[in-house]
């Protein structure tokens, strides 16, 4: 019987791993080959035939070495998060903001909800959001993002806006105390409801629609996991 550990160590000497890990892989694979060979012997094969059949488990040791080195490489979770969430998310936020600012550039004056020009600003922006949501989701999908990450990347502008929206309350109450003016509950409640629906809920739904569409398309077209059985 060959010295399986020596054989594996020689053939996989160039594994791109640290020495302890390399030794572990050698020992594990050698044990596998040893058991395989013993099983062939129990089936009645001569030693020579058993060794030959055992070695036929690996067509190309160089390929195996490369596959193991790649498989053992640890991916940095921070890097993944950056590629799957933060970059697509900020891209969606920046593009949707630039588009809104461009639309505002065409407005003669500052637009408020009550002004008739709002519809010309709001509706085109709203209609563009599924596209931006889809774009964020697309980049997240391509980076291998999970469903949750993909959808978060697509609604990222609304998440940022929600954070800004929520931070307005404590800031607003401080300002009210400083200037000594207090707004009535009715005014505050109406503002929260109107802006919450108009700038958070509806845009969020539009972004999510684009993100969901891309996610569904990606899950349908994505190929099976990169695995193979010989």
């Amino acid at each position: 019987m060959p010295d399986w550990l020596r054989l594996v160590s020689q053939r996989l000497s160039e594994l791109a791993l640290d020495s302890a890990e390399k030794e572990e892989v050698h020992a594990e694979l050698a044990a596998h080959l040893e058991e395989t060979c013993e099983s062939f012997r129990r089936e009645g094969l001569s030693e020579r035939a058993a060794v030959h059949r055992t070695l036929s488990q690996v067509d190309n040791w160089h390929d195996l070495q490369r596959s193991i080195s790649i498989a053992k490489k640890t991916e940095d979770p921070m890097k993944n998060r950056m590629r799957q969430l933060w970059i697509p998310g900020f891209l969606t936020l920046i593009l949707s903001t630039i588009f809104l600012m461009t639309l505002q550039g065409f407005q003669p004056r500052t637009v408020s909800w009550s002004s008739p020009g709002t519809v010309f600003l709001y509706v085109p922006w709203l209609m563009s959001l599924p596209l931006f949501g889809a774009l964020g989701a697309y980049f997240s999908c391509r980076a291998g993002g999970s469903r949750r990450t993909v959808l978060l990347a697509s609604v990222f502008p609304v998440l940022a806006l929600t954070a800004a929206f929520l931070s307005m309350f404590p800031i607003g109450s401080v300002i009210e105390r400083i200037i000594g003016r207090k707004n009535g509950f009715g005014i505050v409640a109406t503002t929260i409801l109107r802006d919450g629906v108009g700038w958070l809920l509806v845009p969020g739904a539009a972004l999510l629609a684009g993100g969901l569409l891309v996610h569904i398309l990606f899950s349908r077209t994505s190929s099976s996991p990169d695995t193979a059985i010989s």
Partner: protein, 110 residues
Amino acid sequence: MIGPGIKRGTAELAILSVLEDGPLHGYEMARRIERQTKGTLRFTLAALYPMLYRMEQRGWIRGNWETAGNGRRRRCYRLTRAGKKELSPLRREWAELFRALHQLTKVAHA
């Protein structure tokens, strides 16, 4: 006999499924898959280990060295919580695929 193209992608499901019953080392895992599928799925060493290491990196399985009754040291793999979580959607996806293929072939023969 199913060709290698069709077999592609079933490997992870096969490994997770056999590990669901308990920890196994690589050789035993390959034997069990072969036995349970009556030889349809057969893992060689070259196919099995890169996949096991990849799945370990993803946190689906965890390998530990253990000493068997005969004194031999083997690296045994067990399913992690993340692996268990991964198993049900994988099963569902493959079941959907097989159902779809079944429907397709029925239509083709109609």
